[in-house]
Symmetry: D3
Subunit: 163 residues, 6 copies
C-alpha cells in the first residue's frame, strides 16, 4: 500500500531546513505532500500561491513529492488525502513545546491522525523563516539559508512591502 | 482563619484546564477567587464581563468560589482582598519561565505575596486558550477542551469579530 | 514494499507508555520490531531475556509486531534488519535532548538511518521505567503504569535483588 | 481548620534555599512538616538522624514547623499526617521536569494529595545540596550556601567519608 | 592590543540587568560599546536617541564604555568598529534559544565574529525590559528594576503613548 | 595587557567540539589555558596525564595555547594564573543549566572571576565525551567526533578497562 505523509507548514518562505526534512521523509514514505496552510492571522511575506510556487521550484526534480495548499484543520485535510501521517520538523525547545501542543490538540480532534517528528541536519537546526526574513530586512546575504531564487524573491517581496 | 487564594488570569475563554486548577485549589484553600485581568494590550475574543460570565456559568454549583475582575497590579488586588496567595497553573516549559518571571517581579513589588504553582491533570497539560481559539477559527469541534456553552460563545464571538 | 520500523530501548520493564507507542507505530508502519538493547553499563532490574519475555506477553495478540534483542550499535542492527527507520518516544524535555544527541550521533554513524519521534498519549507522558521502579521499591501499586503481570514481575525482582 | 503542609526531601544537607521555602510556606499554611525521606538508593553524606538534627537546628525558633522523617511513599505519609498538601521548591528546568513527573506519579497513587510548587528567593535559585557537597569537597567556603554549623558538619562528614 | 566588545540590544529601556552585564564585560575587555539597534519592526516605548540618552546617563562615570546606535546587521557594525566580539546577556531558557539562533545566524553571515554569553547577577536573572514596561503600565514602582531617572522617563513615555 | 582565559573541563577525552571552542577563544583572548580537572568522584576512561597528553597532541601547532591540570576549586586556580576569565562551551539545555549553576556558585566563591559561554560550531553541538565513549564501547567508528589518535587511545583504553 502506498504510504503518504503530509508535511504541513507556513513555508514563508521555504528554507534549506524544510528541504532537508522533505528529503528525509522520502526515505521513509512513498509519497510526501508538502501542504501550505492558509493561515488567516499572520502577516505573511508571500501569499499562498507564491509560497507554493517557491516550494515547487525548490523541490523540482524530486519524484514522489507534491506541493499543495489547504484551508481549515490539518486533520481534516489529512483525511481528505486518505492518509494518517503528519510530519513536523523539530529544531529547538520552543518548537518542541508548540509542536507537542499542536499534535496533542490534533489528536483530540482526530484520533486516527499521528504526528511524527523528524530532525533536520544539525547544519539547519537553527534556521527559521522568521529569522531569515529579519536578516534579509537588515540587508543580509541569504545564500547559506535558502535557494538563490528564494533569496531573490524575498528581497523583491521586502521591497514590495515597503511601498 | 479563612484562607483565600486568588487565581488570576485572562480566561479568554475559560478551559477545562482552568476549571481543573480551581477544583484542586479548593482542596487546599477555604475560598478561591478567580480574577479576570483587565489587560489593555491584548486583543481579546471576549470582553471582561463576558469572560466573568462564562467563568461564573462554568463554576456554578461549586461553593467557596467567587469570580471577580481587577485592574492594575495583581499584588495590589491581592492585598485589597486581604490575602497573600496567588495561584498559577503550570503546564509547560514556556509557562514555567514566564510564570517565574512574573512571580519574581511580583515578589519585588510586594514581598508579602506568595505565588504557588499547581499542575492541571495531564489530560489538560497541553490546553491553552490561544490554541483553542485558533482551532475554533479553523472549524474545530471544541468539546474536548471547553464546556458546551463556552464553545457556543466562542463560535458566536468569532462570527462577530469577522463582521 | 513492506515498511519495517525498529523501536529500540531498555524496556526495564515495559510500561503502558511503551505499549502506546507501539500501537501508534503500527498505524504507520507495516511491521514494528521492538528491540531490547544489551546495555552493559546499567544495573537493570531484569535481564534481557526477561525483558523480552515481558514485552512478548504485553504485545500478545498484536499482529505485525516482533520482539527481539540486539548488541552493539543500533544503526548496525537496523541495517541487518534491512530497514532504515528507528522510532523513539518523546515524553519530556530531558528526553528530547538526550534523544536528539543520540539521533544525531547515529546519523553520523550511518547517514541512511532516520530516527522519527512519536508522542505517547498525554496519560503516559510522565511515565518512566525508572520512576516506576522507584515507586515499586517504596511499596506502590503499579496498576496505572504497567500490565498486571509486569507489576508482579517487578515486585518479584525487587525481592530477588534485596537478597 | 488547621492546614498542614508536608515539605519532603533528602535535605542532605539542608541549605539556605530549603530554609527560604519553609519560611514562605509558613506564610500560607498553619503548620509545615519538613519530612526527611529514607531513600535507600543514594549514597548520602549524612544519615537520616543527622539530617533531621541539622534541620532542627536550622529551623530553631520558627514556630509552627516540625521536622520528621518517613519511609515508603510520600502519599501514604501525607495521609498518615491527615493532610493533603505536599510542597516542593522549584528552582530550575531540570527540577521542573523531575518534580512534575513525581507529582503526576503521586497523583496516580493517591488522587487526594496535591503537590504545590514554590519558588525560593532568586538568591538561592541555583543552590543544590549536590553542588554544595562538590564545592566543599574541593575546599570551598560554604558560608553563602548553608548555616555555619551545617558547614562544619559537612566538612566533618567529608573527612569521615575519606577514612 | 585594545580589545573592544560590542554589547548590542534594544535597551527599551536599559535595566539594572543590562548595567550589570556592562560592568562584568569591563572586567574582561578594554572597551565596551553598548550599541542600540534600530529595529524597524517593534513598537518601542522610546526612540533610539532617547534610549541612547538613558544608557549614557546610566553609565555615566564608567570609563572605557561608549554608547552608540547602529542600523542593519550587527556583524557589519562589529566589523566597522574593527573588532570581532559580541556580548549577550543570558537570563533564561527562552533567551538561550533565541540567542543561540541569532549567534548561529550571525556566524553564517560572518565567520570572524564571535558571540559570547555572560550571566547577570542572579538578582537580575528575571528582569526584562518588556516585563518592566508591563509593570509600569499597571502602576508599579520600578525602583528595584531601573535607575530612578529611567523610571521617571518610562512613566512619562507611557503617558505620552496614551495620548 | 595580556588577556588570559582558562578553559577548564574533564576532557575525557578531548573532542572536536572542545577543539572548536579553543580556536574560537583564541580569536578573543591572547592566551588560552586548557585546564584538566582532577575530579575525584567520576570513573574516567583516561587518567589526568593521559588526558593532558591527548589535548597537547590535539592542539599541537596552535600558538598561544597551553595545557595544564588543576586540583581543587577552579576559582582558586584562575587566581593563581593571575586572570579572571573562565570559558565554558554551551551546547544544549542541560549544559545550560548545569553551567549556570556552576558559574553562579563560582561567583559566590569569588566575585572577581567571570564565566563566559561560547558556542561550538553547530556541527559539534550534540557531541559529548560521554556519548562518544558509549558509542566506542558499542564498536562505533569515531572519526567524525575526535582526532584519529584520540580514537585509537579510546579503543585501547576500553580494552584495558575490560581486563
Amino acid at each position: 500500500m502506498t504510504k503518504i505523509a503530509i508535511y504541513p507548514g507556513s513555508f514563508d518562505p521555504v528554507t534549506y531546513g524544510h528541504l532537508d526534512i522533505v528529503k528525509r521523509a522520502l526515505k521513509i514514505f512513498d509519497r510526501v505532500i508538502v501542504a501550505v496552510a492558509h493561515n488567516a492571522e499572520k502577516e505573511p511575506l508571500f501569499d499562498v500561491p507564491e509560497r507554493v510556487e517557491l516550494l515547487r521550484r525548490s523541490l523540482k526534480g524530486l519524484k514522489r513529492v507534491e506541493v499543495d495548499d489547504f484551508e481549515g484543520l490539518i486533520v481534516k485535510y489529512v483525511k481528505r488525502k486518505k492518509t494518517n501521517v503528519v510530519i513536523r520538523g523539530l529544531r529547538m525547545i520552543s518548537d518542541f513545546e508548540y509542536e507537542f501542543q499542536m499534535a496533542l490538540t490534533n489528536r483530540k480532534l482526530s484520533s486516527s491522525v499521528e504526528t511524527i517528528f523528524m530532525m533536520p541536519s544539525e547544519s539547519y537546526s537553527y534556521l527559521s523563516s522568521k529569522l531569515i526574513k529579519e536578516a534579509a530586512f537588515l540587508g543580509a546575504n541569504l545564500k547559506a539559508f535558502v535557494p538563490p531564487f528564494v533569496e531573490k524573491a524575498v528581497k523583491f517581496a521586502l521591497q514590495r512591502s515597503k511601498t
